[in-house]
Symmetry: C2
């Protein structure tokens, strides 16, 4: 039997991160493999976290003025051939419906790998005059890309995502809007809600999205020091508008081609959440996104304890805390604690006979595994600010790891060495013409380019950029 | 050219209801055909209404204790063969993926027509002990059923829906839960939020869902007197649990088969909303579901009017009203009014110079097309209760039509005659053994069976039931 030095429940987060990840998915009841290879079942607890992500990202998207639509799952094969780089990028991953309604179809239809081409065709129809611009659209949907090496949440044949597509009258307007989405929607959501510090930057031309003139990315560091791309935003110039004939009549009556953008984030963020914050005891969910912020656990299976626990839960629920009450007789207290730690519930409130005698409850904060007590009459005043404090502390913890495992280097060889445990920062110019090839040979890539002070540059051709280099998922 | 006696914008709602429906979808920018036959593009305004429906239904479902999950789009063909009645019902409608990732698949996969079989397989795994029961699950997703005669929102190849699946320890618990979903989720949502009065009843054995022992339905009357099935809830007895081996160990250690239920509602409700409330000027959206409850329209294109209109919009928005400000210079006032009437915005608030001189605004209520005025300083106090009043009035209007177009009859011939303009109520016993065949020959069906006083019976075999008979969508 394999010894993995873990908690007994999970493989060791230090020694076998991939297996630890699989274990967390299973033991915390987050996800399961679907019956068709590469597909995924998202279980209630993980889906509740995803619903929280969706609601938060959606509200941020709407604040920028974009509206949601729903486009069809099926796309005619011919649509994908309209943008050459597009079809090349996707064709090996397509799932094709050849039979339907009991017959063979005359033209096979593709299950959308993205709705980009359909957005293109519709925008060409919907945009006529400069008064129709900007046109700001977004969609929440499932998409399919056949995966040969699937990994739950990170790379699955089907995944859930949002894709935004916008058309603008000028390059400047398109660039400003894409930048706003990237910073105010993605970066702020990831940092403020998921407590995941992200590096915002642009992709190098080699790593850029096919057809884009500029790709912005949010890169996060996982628990094993590898990078995960959490969201990307693309300026598509006029390439896409020309391929799809998205034009408008300007104020002087001249027909102009639009400037378009696209941007997306997906259930991959669930993988990022688990791998950013998880530890040897399981998942750790930041309070703002937690479906259960506090679980009230009765320490003893008797009437007095249960009714006191229930009163505590009611009071906190009244105070706006998302609470779960656990007064189960079985399994025993110890096993129930392990369950809630696995699920990463931020705050566990233990109610036991001795606590009650002292007019208090015991608090166990998941992010530090430390215990304190709080008087019963201070509950509603103390818990909500405590949750906010924990949220900040989780972000600070993740920031510390990011800083500790990021190394400034000068050469490609040093960058490769640093990437075995974390991120390397190297002057982009130092990579020269062959640097990205040399990195690639060691399964290391340029994750993004930043300004010297860690800012988001306007594009990859700006002078003095710094490359963030890492292994990645 | 065809004269259709309509408003000039829409075909006549009286004379050509199907064409009127198509016109509303197009002119109010609700939906479009997708590029693959039978598929649908849901445009921003309609999608915003759907989001409102989803949020409301979802909150009601969660209140019953059910949790959301997400199951894969793709199902192995073999899964569908496990429940004989199930595969028979769906096989002519299936879309089949035969090629993926550039290769032919060894086992073709089906695009889910429902996730029923996957829920079955998962519940068999997740339910072990009586402590796991009841297991209450729900999913929001897209499903595909190849349609030969598609009609936007009513019958489309792909549609959005929720499907609930639950497993219980006893028949009584399953029946009580399905009934609760049917009344507290579906009926109450349709009546209280969509202002659509529905007849709740059970399906006759002929109309019952394949494999169910009892099917409950909510039937609504559309503007042309035809019925639309808005939602259904099924008791599946132990049939489904046996086919999928969903069993549990009871307190005494004996393995028992579960009792299961399923229940669903879909984007078809959008069609029902349009066809229930629409009139010659377009859609009419009840205030509680309206994405825009009030539009503030500047009557003149000048500074003073625009800034007053903007202040009105801000004030109402502060008061919790979902407001849109319309201070566009073009198109002219008349065309803008037609637009907002087409979209069915409940309340139009006109701000013009004469109104401002009199320290008031003009209110146009969409559901009665009547105008009144309200003093500027009464706005936040007056509008929210006015919207609630309008909500009640729309439900009352729909109830009146339902009552006026429902006829009590004694014979099948009378029922068929009454169904040409509305619903017929006939003692179920009066249909005898051949009644449903005779109705079917005239494209008329038993929509549901109710108790004498219009209540929801426990099942179709109860004595003294009344059949509601109608043509339907």
């Amino acid at each position: 039997m394999v010894q993995h030095g873990g908690s007994g429940v999970l493989a060791s987060v230090q020694d076998d991160f991939p297996r630890w990840y699989q274990d967390v998915l299973e033991k915390a009841q987050l996800a399961d493999n679907g019956p068709v290879r590469g597909t995924m079942v998202i279980r209630p607890y993980a889906y509740a976290i995803w619903e929280g992500m969706q609601a938060d990202v959606d509200a941020r998207i709407k604040r920028t003025g974009a509206e949601n639509v729903y486009l069809p799952l099926f796309i005619p094969e011919s649509y994908l051939e309209r943008e050459a780089e597009h079809v090349e990028g996707f064709s090996p991953e397509l799932a094709v419906v050849t039979h339907a309604g009991g017959k063979e179809l005359t033209e096979p239809v593709v299950v959308r790998p993205t709705s980009e081409t359909v957005f293109g065709a519709l925008m060409a129809k919907w945009v006529q005059s400069h008064r129709d611009l900007p046109m700001l659209l977004n969609q929440w949907a499932n998409v399919v890309r056949w995966e040969l090496r699937p990994r739950l949440f990170l790379r699955t044949t089907e995944f859930l995502w949002q894709e935004g597509h916008t058309a603008h009258a000028t390059a400047a307007d398109a660039a400003a809007y894409a930048r706003r989405i990237h910073l105010e929607v993605y970066r702020d959501f990831l940092q403020d809600t998921l407590a995941i510090p992200v590096l915002v930057g642009v992709k190098s031309p080699r790593e850029r999205f096919a057809g884009a003139v500029n790709t912005m990315t949010c890169e996060a560091m996982m628990g094993d020091g590898k990078a995960l791309q959490m969201a990307t935003s693309h300026e598509l110039g006029q390439n896409f508008a020309r391929a799809f004939d998205i034009g408008y009549t300007d104020a002087s009556g001249t027909v102009q081609s639009c400037w378009t953008t696209s941007w997306g984030s997906s259930t991959r963020m669930m993988g990022g959440l688990i791998m950013s914050h998880g530890d040897q005891a399981g998942l750790r969910v930041p309070p703002r996104i937690a479906p259960i912020q506090a679980v009230v656990v009765a320490v003893k299976d008797d009437e007095r304890t249960a009714s006191a626990a229930s009163a505590v839960a009611d009071e906190l629920s009244e105070a706006g805390v998302r609470v779960r009450l656990d007064v189960r007789g079985t399994p025993g207290f110890g096993r129930r604690i392990v369950e809630w730690e696995l699920k990463g519930v931020p705050l566990r409130i233990e109610v036991g006979p001795r606590d009650l005698d002292a007019q208090q409850v015991t608090l166990a904060r998941r992010h530090v595994m430390g215990k304190t007590t709080v008087p019963l009459d201070r509950l509603s005043a103390a818990i909500p600010p405590l949750l906010e404090e924990m949220q900040s502390e989780m972000l600070a913890q993740a920031r510390e790891r990011l800083a500790a495992r990021t190394t400034d280097v000068e050469t490609v060889a040093e960058a490769i060495a640093a990437a075995s445990t974390g991120f390397a920062r190297i002057p982009y110019a130092a990579l020269g013409e062959t640097g990205e090839d040399e990195l690639a040979a060691k399964a290391v890539t340029v994750r993004c380019l930043q300004t010297e002070d860690g800012g988001l540059p306007a594009g990859a051709d700006q002078d003095g950029l710094v490359a963030i280099v890492a292994r990645s998922y």
